[in-house]
C-alpha cells in the first residue's frame, strides 16, 4: 500500500524486472549448457576434478546435465513450463553452488568448468559468489508466483 502511494509504477517495474531476470537466467543456462554439450568428454573431466562423485556417475552427468540446463533455461521463456523450469534452475544452482563451495574450502585450485572451455582460469571463488547472487535472484523470481 505504502509502495503504491509513493511509487505507483513499482508493481509494473517489479513485473518487468522479473521478466528481464527470467530472460537473463534462461540465456545464462542455455549458454552454459550449450558450451558443455559441445564437449561432454571435457565436461566429464571437469566434474572429476571436483572429486565429489566417481567417474561413471560423473560421465553420465556430463551427458545429461548440459541438456537439462539447455531445456530448463529455454523453458523459462515458455509460460506453460516456466515454474517447473525455475524449480530445476534453482535446484541446479544449489547443486553447483555446493560443488563450488566444497572445492573452494578444500583448496582444490580448479576451474569452475561452468561454461565448458569458453571461460578458463576462472577459479572457484568468483563463480561461487556469482552463483550465490543468482540463487538470491531466483528467490526474487519465486516471489512473483502465488
Amino acid at each position: 500500500m505504502i509502495s503504491r502511494l509513493h511509487f505507483p509504477e513499482l508493481p509494473r517495474l517489479v513485473k518487468l524486472g522479473r521478466i528481464f531476470g527470467r530472460m537473463v537466467l534462461g540465456l545464462l543456462f542455455v549458454l552454459a549448457g550449450a558450451t558443455k554439450a559441445f564437449d561432454p568428454g571435457a565436461f566429464a573431466v571437469e566434474i572429476q576434478r571436483y572429486h565429489l562423485i566417481p567417474w561413471i556417475p560423473g560421465a553420465l552427468s556430463s551427458v545429461y546435465l548440459p541438456w537439462l540446463e539447455i531445456l530448463a533455461g529455454a523453458l523459462l521463456f515458455v509460460k506453460r513450463f516456466e515454474q517447473g523450469a525455475l524449480l530445476l534452475v534453482t535446484c541446479l544452482l544449489f547443486v553447483f553452488t555446493f560443488a563450488l563451495a566444497s572445492a573452494t574450502f578444500r583448496g582444490l585450485g580448479i576451474d569452475c568448468g561452468c561454461f565448458g572451455k569458453v571461460f578458463t582460469a576462472t577459479g572457484t571463488v568468483v563463480p561461487l559468489i556469482r552463483n550465490i547472487l543468482l540463487l538470491a535472484f531466483t528467490g526474487f523470481l519465486w516471489l512473483g508466483y502465488p
Binding site: A37, P40, A44, V45, W55, V63, L68, F81, Q83, A121
Partner: protein
Amino acid sequence: MGPTVRQASLILLAALVPASLTAAFHPRRPVWSQETLAPGEEMLPTVLAWGANALWVDARTADEYETEHVPGAISLNLENWDQLFPKFLDAWTREKKVVVYCSAATCELSREVAERLRKSGISSVYVLKGGWEAWKNRK
C-alpha cells in the same frame, strides 16, 4: 503432484532424450572406462590444452633431465632443491599452472615435488598422470 513439480518432471524426462543420443553418438562423448584421477593429478591432453599457461617441472634426476625432457621444462628435484628452487621461482608467475612429472605412473617423485611446492606456497600445482612415459607416447 503440483503443476510445478509435474512440469519439472517432464523437463527432467525430456532431457534424457538428447542425453542418450549424446552418450551414444557424440564424437566427444566421455570415455566410460576412463581411469580416475587422484586429487592434484592431471591428464596430458588437458595440460597440453593449457599451452603457454603450463609451467613444466621435471622431477627426475639431473641425468635424466639432461638426456631428454619436455621442451621448456625446468629441473626441480628434492636432491638439489636449494639450488633449483630459485631457478623455478624465476620462471614461475602466479597465473601459471605448474605441471610436475617424473618417469612413469608408478613414480612418486612428482607427487613429492608437487607436495613440497604446495607447502612452499605455490598454487595450482598438478602432477602429470603417466609422467614422462605419457609425454613420450603422446599421439
